[in-house]
């Protein structure tokens, strides 16, 4: 393991990789600060740039973008109460009131120190947990992988939020359906290609990610214009105030950081949970354990209320790398995009990655520390300068996003048909977004669909066509039961509330 760590360290500290972490954090912060564009878009826009790089360098850049985007989202949450990313919504609860009190600089510093500490502590957990889990998962068989993929997909649907579970399941199935387009890898027969040569190789992952996130998000900002918050952000940045923290404030933050890091990391490991749920859980936990007097301060600029979600969302970002690096199963839309990029570099994430390409595995983990340092040392003081980029008017910004998305896909295949397919896919994505369907489960379904089919086919072949592989090994059975639990819990909850509402309505009907 030590050998791997040193190998990862030597890769991560190579000048090009250090540069990429810095560029990634910088670009991610800028994109994260833009209203409407999230980390998935930020990472998707980076994929074409990384094609010419070594896989480690590409992944390091994307990890930097991920952290940067979350940090950028926090900045707009604190300054103007407009979270750029869902994971930083809870940050605004206490960050914005602090900014209103004229302590924006202090709020930004608390967010940066908390993010740094959360990310660093979680990276240490990752350092221990990932190789341990990777060693265990080396004994996994096709049936176990199939079960794990089912777990990943059901968990994403289960964490989708109230009233969204059926929609998330629908989108997951839709994603798997899209993955069946093209040549069936085992039989070699064409499926749903309708005679088109452009569909024989299936739909490209990059095309789907770019059109459903970058293109559709940029077009939606035109279709459904919201208040352009960038000038407010610029104004707020001009009166930041001091960024220094007192000893008392640091003392208050330390235990919060400890608790929220642990909570955030383990929430991030859970497939489907991620930074958003982690930040809300941490905020809720801090408020619950606070004294009655401290509780009154929540929502009015409490340091604990700001530090907890910021620590947890960064810790969750690191945690979400655990299933990706060790099992080859992305736990969130963002890690799904990263997995797609890794596959396109020719690197197969999973337990073998730890054995076969330890430099990639370890350099990503080490670069997380470096990324956190870059965010603290470079990004925090540079925030006022990064914000100047926000002055770029929207009429110029949106065509640039469209151009980079289109050309990013075109440069991979040099097929103009892809550009037309992107327009169609973006139009469908806009329609689905307007109908309030979540996009991340579709991307996850698309990525995992092919692998799920492959593992199911292999497991069936090994067990001579019998489905007994689903319960023969305890590990497979446990994972499948967990999936069932994940899937049934929100559905039963919905059904119970519906029945309760119905019962409450019946006597009234009778009286009338």
């Amino acid at each position: 393991m030590l050998e791997g760590i040193f190998s990862g360290l030597s890769t991560a500290v190579m000048p090009i990789n250090l540069l990429m972490v810095a560029v990634g954090c910088f670009a991610g912060t800028f994109i994260g600060m833009l209203p409407g564009l999230g980390p998935i878009t930020a990472i998707a826009l980076m994929i074409p740039i990384t094609y010419g790089f070594d896989p480690s360098t590409g992944l390091i850049l994307m990890a930097g973008v991920y952290y940067g985007a979350i940090f950028g989202g926090s900045t707009s949450s604190i300054l103007i109460n407009a979270p750029g990313v869902a994971g930083t919504v809870a940050t605004a609860f206490d960050g914005y009131p602090m900014a209103q009190k004229g302590q924006a600089g202090k709020a930004l510093a608390i967010a940066a120190y908390s993010s740094f500490s959360g990310g660093t502590i979680a990276a240490i957990f990752l350092l221990v947990a990932a190789p341990a889990l990777a060693s265990v998962s080396l004994s996994f068989q096709s049936g176990d992988y199939f079960a794990l993929m089912v777990l990943g997909l059901t968990a994403v649907s289960a964490f989708a939020g109230k009233g969204q579970v059926l929609k998330a399941i629908t989108m997951t199935l839709f994603g798997i359906m899209l993955s069946t387009i093209g040549t069936d890898p085992a039989a070699g027969v064409a499926r749903f290609t309708f005679g088109s040569m452009d569909l024989v190789d299936g739909i490209s992952f990059l095309l789907l990610a770019m059109s459903t996130f970058a293109l559709s998000e940029a077009l939606l900002s035109i279709l459904r214009p919201t208040k352009d918050t960038r000038s407010d952000e610029e104004k707020a940045l001009k009166s930041l105030g001091s960024m220094k923290l007192s000893k008392e404030e640091v003392k208050t933050m330390i235990p919060v950081i400890g608790r929220s890091s642990v909570l955030g990391f383990f929430t991030g490991v859970l497939p489907g949970a991620g930074a958003t749920i982690a930040s809300f859980l941490a905020y809720g936990m801090e408020r619950n354990i606070a004294s009655a007097k401290e509780k009154l301060g929540f929502g009015k600029g409490s340091i604990r209320g700001l530090s907890a979600p910021e620590t947890a969302n960064n810790a969750a970002c690191s945690g979400s790398f655990v299933p990706l690096l060790t099992l080859g199963i992305p736990g969130s839309g963002t890690t799904a995009v990263m997995m797609g990029a890794l596959i396109s570099y020719g690197v197969q994430p999973g337990p073998r990655l730890f054995v076969e390409q330890p430099d990639v595995f370890w350099s990503v983990i080490i670069s997380m520390y470096i990324g956190n340092i870059v965010l603290l040392v470079l990004n925090l003081p540079l925030i006022p300068y990064i914000s100047r980029l926000l002055a770029l008017p929207q009429q110029l910004l949106v065509p640039f996003v469209l151009f980079f998305s289109l050309v990013g896909v075109y440069l991979v295949t040099f097929n103009t048909m892809d550009i037309h397919m992107m327009v169609i896919a973006a139009a469908i994505a806009i329609g689905l977004r307007l109908l309030n369907y979540p996009m991340a489960p579709m991307l996850l379904g698309f990525i995992l669909g092919k692998m799920m089919e492959e593992n199911l086919r292999r497991a069936l072949a090994i067990s001579d066509g019998s489905i007994s592989f689903l319960w023969e090994r305890p590990i497979t059975l446990v994972i499948l039961l967990l999936s069932l639990l994940f899937l049934s819990a929100p559905l039963i909850g919905n059904l119970r509330s519906w029945l309760a509402n119905r019962k409450a309505a019946v006597p009234n009907d009778g009286e009338i």
């Binding site: 629908t170 064409a190 103009t416 550009i419 309030n436 519906w498």
Partner: protein
């Protein structure tokens, strides 16, 4: 009459499941694969059924009133500019080979800027052409050469001869 947004979505996916399920029959099977426990049609068949059942459940369950009506979801949207941008993207796809990367990209960017309200000719032209040429140069430096366009070869202004 106004339909609930969620119900409309469920209806669309139910139709998709039916169409997808219908075309599963078109997937060719290799000799002897018909009786295999898993063939090229197995997963698509399962998916069509699952999506059909899930969307049917959503369709028959009581409507989620928070979702609002379909009309409400599509009200007040600025379609015109989005449609123009979509047409520009299609145009970009059609011309990138013919008139080449530099000209088609410059035109696409200028069209995009203009559609979204930029009227200063100097900003329009200089930004679009400047970014395009800078990006083209960057690609060239990275070893990716995008031809100036088939059109120039047809005119004989450029030659494929080494």
């Amino acid at each position: 009459m106004s339909i609930n947004r969620d119900k409309f979505g469920a209806l669309l996916f139910l139709c998709l499941a039916l169409i997808y399920g219908f075309y599963v029959g078109d997937i060719p099977l290799l000799f002897g694969d018909e009786d295999a426990p898993f063939n090229a049609r197995t997963l698509p068949n399962a998916l069509a059924w699952l999506l059909g059942v899930v969307s049917f459940i959503q369709l028959v369950l009581p409507a989620n009133k928070e979702a609002g009506s379909l009309e409400h979801a599509f009200r007040g949207l600025k379609w015109k500019r989005v449609v123009i941008l979509a047409v520009l993207m299609v145009f970009y796809g059609l011309t990138i080979r013919q008139i080449g990367f530099p000209i088609s990209t410059s035109l696409f960017l200028m069209g995009g800027f203009y559609t979204l309200g930029e009227r200063r000719p100097l900003v329009l032209i200089l930004t679009a052409v400047g970014v395009t040429l800078a990006f083209w140069g960057l690609l060239y430096a990275m070893g990716i050469y995008l031809t100036p366009g088939d059109f120039f070869y047809y005119l004989g202004w450029m030659s494929n001869d080494a």
